[in-house]
């Protein structure tokens, strides 16, 4: 391999890893809810769209950015508790498939509500982070993607600290380990679920702003959920570390496949290659790389 080819390979790899971080951002929202309630929340993409659309619409109506972030967060908190009250609580003790279908329906409702309230127009979103690349040894690296990776790292660190060093974090983990035992020691499940959905709303806001700055704030934002699913299969549905590692593997894998395998099969393969990768892992490790192995007495 010549030096130029090697540099190109490294550039594709770095680009893929940085894209993977963006996928992880979405996947973390899924993990939070799955970890504590066992629900695969298909509405996470719609929440991301709703958060970004709310933020950008408030800013366009003249609100200062910090105020818009605060207000959007409040709205996401209200949304989180509303979902807990109106969807999850009535369906408690139903099968995981029922809950999954409920979140699928929820995603359509949130998407529709977002467009009904804020309209269907495409919005630009400038976070003040330049996207002009810088060059190291002939390799172009995106400033924006690096900043996004930094924000993701800070968010993961913050969530980890929250889980391990706060009382409510401890309660989250207790519920994740055993809901019945948690109830038996007096934890209020409904309040914890509401808090988890709020946390997922916060993740949706952060992911929505970063993805919105990349794509523009528009309906297609909700489709980024499709990028998170293989990440979850690969990393495990209940592991934040798994979401990060899974995102990196999916991002790097699909970019390398598109560049090096794509030309042999007509190109355009990255959309489904991530799922091939996830399926491969699923056959070898059904719980994903870092997911909890489920053992049930039957």
């Amino acid at each position: 391999m010549e030096v130029y080819d090697l540099l190109f390979f490294v550039e594709v790899l770095i680009g893929g890893l940085l894209s993977g971080v963006m996928y992880s951002l979405v996947a973390i929202g899924f993990v939070l809810i799955y970890k504590t309630s066992g629900v695969l929340n298909f509405a996470q993409g719609a929440m991301l769209l709703f958060a970004a659309l709310t933020f950008v619409s408030l800013v366009e109506r003249g609100l200062a950015v910090p105020l818009a972030i605060g207000l959007t967060l409040l709205i996401m908190v209200a949304l989180g508790f509303a979902i807990e009250r109106s969807v999850l609580r009535p369906l408690v003790n139903r099968s995981p498939m029922t809950l999954f279908m409920a979140t699928l329906g929820l995603s359509y409702i949130i998407e529709g509500a977002a467009q009904l309230v804020w309209g269907t127009q495409v919005h630009g979103l400038d976070l003040g982070i330049s996207d002009v690349p810088f060059e190291i040894a002939g390799i172009f690296i995106s400033t924006f993607d690096l900043a996004a990776a930094g924000i993701a790292a800070a968010m993961v660190a913050g969530l980890s600290a929250f889980f391990y060093w706060t009382r409510i974090g401890l309660a989250f983990r207790a519920v994740a380990d055993d809901q019945f035992a948690a109830l038996a020691v007096g934890l209020r499940l409904s309040r914890i679920w509401g808090s988890v959905w709020t946390a997922a709303g916060f993740v949706a806001l952060v992911a929505g702003l970063l993805w919105g700055a990349r794509l523009g704030v528009q309906f297609s934002l909700s489709l980024v959920v499709l990028k998170a699913l293989p990440v979850l299969v690969l990393g495990g549905f209940d592991s934040i570390l798994g979401a990060i590692v899974g995102g990196l593997i999916v991002g790097a894998g699909e970019k390398l496949a598109e560049v090096y395998l794509g030309p042999f099969v007509g190109g355009g393969i990255e959309g489904w290659f991530a799922y091939v990768l996830a399926l491969g892992f699923l056959l070898l490790r059904p719980a994903g790389l870092f997911g909890t192995k489920l053992v049930e007495r039957v």
Partner: protein, 442 residues
């Protein structure tokens, strides 16, 4: 836009739909498979908004077309083929249907057999299946103004003009970045043919739907170091392409967008990454044209405008909708000259489209001088030899940067006929003659 205004809009739309259900004798109806929600809503609201605004103008200002009132009804498709077909089946029973305008390649493909059987024109302005240009094989389909092959030829001619002539294309390298859909793939063969003819090196790279991730494609482009990239995108693919081009160091000034990559919605989300980007168009943007001004005065000032956001008046999709309205209405007007000032059948309106000849003087009389150039549809040529121009984004608005350019129709016609004749042979269709085209059922 407030929740109240949305609800009010829905109520008005419902009223219009109910109103049109009881269609009277002298009314001409336009069923619309529109998309006002979903991933392509921005394009749908602009286009159908412009179309309806023009129909409203004709009703309000002129009392309809020679006394025949124009009516319409909408069915939401979200740009999905199955929903488009369902809306077709639901609305096709409405009396006095003039033409169908789905603004979707997928829905249009699914409708060809149906509208042929039902004898109603299907308008695919600026898009659609290229070989439907051949009216000998496709009597009811009209890819008005610009079919995909003409668009390709127009773009190559523009690049050649920038380089100093068609002979200067030899040795140049062009990459076509296309949407991974039937629409995106439609032009693959014609780019190959033009590359062979003019001697430029060609690479065509697919972006999987919806196109929200393009790092790999643009790194490939960076490695190939092309002179130009043609962006054949749709929806979110376009701003992402421009942003990723910037991220990988490719200048926007070397990217030429196709006719579905030329709207404000394609460039605004890309912010400064889109400055200097150029795209082809069949109609200019802006609100300075007399017909657009009349719509503002007659329709919007009376509170009857279809766009929620008045800032979108004169945008690319809105103006395309207005031009589409002009072409539909003029086809009805032309058909009325032959068949009388009454509600026409779909087949009679088809005859009108096959005689839709608007020279620059007539375009000016319609208040659309410089909005679009002209059209010359015949029973054989359902595209009508539309001219194209190129516009460049300066960060705030589009500016026209070329004259009206003619695609190389003579070069394209035999290729189109070859394809359409193969379709006819496959389906066992008899080629239509000029005599067949003159007859219209009522």
């Amino acid at each position: 836009m407030t929740l109240f205004s949305r609800i009010a809009g829905v109520a008005v739309a419902a009223t219009l739909t109910l109103g049109t259900a009881a269609v009277q004798a002298d009314e001409q109806h336009f069923p619309m498979q529109s998309y006002r929600v979903g991933p392509y809503a921005a394009g749908g609201t602009g286009f159908f908004g412009g179309f309806i605004d023009y129909l409203n103008l004709i009703n309000t200002r002129d009392g309809g077309v020679n006394g025949v009132k124009l009516t319409w009804s909408e069915g939401e498709t979200q740009y999905e083929v199955e929903k488009g077909v369902e809306v077709y089946e639901r609305l096709k029973g409405n009396p006095g249907i003039a033409a169908w305008n789905p603004l979707s390649v997928g829905i249009a493909y699914a409708m060809i057999d149906r509208i042929t059987q039902d004898k109603a024109p299907l308008i695919t302005i600026n898009h659609g299946r290229t070989d439907t240009t051949d009216g000998r094989v496709f009597p009811y389909v009209f890819p008005l103004l610009l079919n995909p092959y003409s668009e390709t030829s127009g773009i190559v001619n523009y690049v050649a003009a920038k380089e100093g002539g068609l002979d200067k294309l030899k040795g140049k390298k062009i990459v076509v970045l296309y949407h991974g859909s039937p629409y995106g793939k439609e032009t693959i063969p014609i780019y190959q043919l033009l590359a062979e003819k003019y001697g430029f090196t060609l690479s065509q790279i697919e972006v999987p739907h919806p196109g929200n991730e393009q790092q790999a494609q643009w790194l490939q482009i960076r490695r190939e170091r092309p002179d130009y990239v043609v962006l054949r995108g749709w929806g979110v693919m376009n701003p992402v392409a421009l942003k990723t081009a910037q991220k990988t160091g490719f200048p926007a000034s070397k990217i030429i967008g196709n006719v579905w990559s030329n709207s404000e919605e394609d460039v605004i989300p890309a912010a400064d990454a889109a400055v200097g980007y150029t795209a082809i168009t069949t109609q200019a943007s802006g609100a300075k044209y007399p017909v657009v001004q009349e719509i503002v005065k007659t329709v919007y000032d009376a509170g009857k405008g279809n766009l929620d956001d008045k800032k979108r008046i004169g945008s690319v999709y809105h103006n395309l909708g207005i031009v589409n309205g002009i072409l539909n209405v003029e086809a009805v007007r032309i058909a009325q000259k032959k068949f009388g000032n009454r509600t026409l059948t779909g087949d009679e309106v088809r005859w009108g489209f096959e005689h839709l000849q608007l020279d620059p003087a007539r375009v000016e009389a319609l208040g659309a001088k410089d909005l679009f150039h002209s059209i010359n549809v015949t029973w054989k040529n359902h595209e009508g030899d539309g001219y194209v121009t190129f516009q460049q984004w300066d960060g705030a608005k589009w500016n026209v940067v070329s004259d009206w350019i003619a695609p190389d129709w003579a070069l394209l016609r035999p290729i189109i006929e070859k394809s359409s004749e193969a379709y006819a042979a496959e389906k066992g269709l008899q080629l239509r003659t000029g005599e067949d085209a003159q007859a219209a059922s009522n």
